[in-house]
């Protein structure tokens, strides 16, 4: 499907653009990607980056988070469902240290979840979180999600959080 563009008061969520690559590359080849299986070599980061468009072409996909004030891409957010995922996952990732601590991931994840429920008519969502990623676990809880179970992934124990369903 085609990615829509979503807005919050300070953020725009849009399809990835080739111009996002330098910032995404910094993230993906640097320490911030550790909780997502990184850091990755640049070649592998580029393959992952290209996957943003492919995911949308195959079904739905994730958005780049842009700060309206600066126009800068600061992360990605949205529904993720690669082969092997039992059900769609809501993911959120900030690409720079500077984007932390300002409510960006919370606002972006809320907007993406509202879109999944309101437009795709989904009734539930999960998030997979490495327990060592305490910031992300705290955000899941702020979003009203609760830890439902744990599972093994590539030798790591991952917590599965369940989000509250759509508001009636």
């Amino acid at each position: 499907m085609n990615a829509p563009t979503l807005h919050t008061d300070r953020l725009t969520l849009r399809l990835a653009e080739p111009e996002d690559w330098p910032t995404y590359r910094e993230y993906s080849t640097g320490p911030r990607s550790k909780t997502a299986g990184g850091p990755f070599p640049a070649t592998s980061a580029w393959h992952r980056f290209a996957g943003f468009w492919g995911h949308w072409a195959i079904c739905f996909g994730r958005f780049t988070i842009v700060e309206q004030a600066t126009g800068a891409p600061v992360g990605h957010v949205g529904p993720y469902m690669p082969e092997g995922h039992p059900e769609p996952e809501l993911t959120w990732t900030l690409w720079t240290d500077d984007a932390e601590g300002r409510g960006i991931a919370f606002k972006a994840a809320t907007a993406a979840r509202d879109w999944c429920y309101g437009t795709l008519d989904w009734t539930t969502l999960t998030s997979h979180i490495d327990p060592a990623n305490t910031r992300s676990a705290a955000l899941a809880e702020r979003l009203g999600a609760h830890r439902e179970t744990s599972f093994d992934h590539d030798g790591l124990t991952i917590d599965l959080y369940r989000h509250p369903g759509p508001k009636p």
């Binding site: 399809l15 580029w46 468009w53 079904c59």
Partner: protein, 170 residues
Amino acid sequence: MTAAPTLTTDRLILRPLKADDFPVLADFYASDRARFVGGPQDADRTWRTLATEIGHWTLRGYGRFGLEVRETGAFAGVVGPWNPHGWPAPELGWDLMNGFEGHGYASEAALATRDWVYDTLGWTTAISLIADGNVGSEGVARRLGCTRERDYTHDMFGKMAIWRHPEPAR
């Protein structure tokens, strides 16, 4: 998003890769035949491979096509220009899905995509990377008039050779 155009040859249609191609692609990448192109790999990884192939079009303005047999509509391969980050130069690649070898499909499709990159994209040269021991693919390269230029080692895919295509006809 940039999507692939559709090209046709005598026996084949070259069109954008799509979600429906996944099961056949996963079967190929899970098989021993994929050992020359980064496999064998499981279905989870192949799903990402498919997503990357599609996204390559947006990042480069070109990419690889899904190859379909006109007579049956069967998805038979992935063919065309490929140049991800870190690649030594833009290349033409050809992967036939399982059971579609031996018909000359790879040569026919690769020639059509070479004409396309020369005539439409304005390329003046092209390479193909072929893993050591991939005798079938070397045969396709020879039929296309390529010559083996030098050895090349890639950090993800190991030991290969760079083959050079003939330049566009004037």
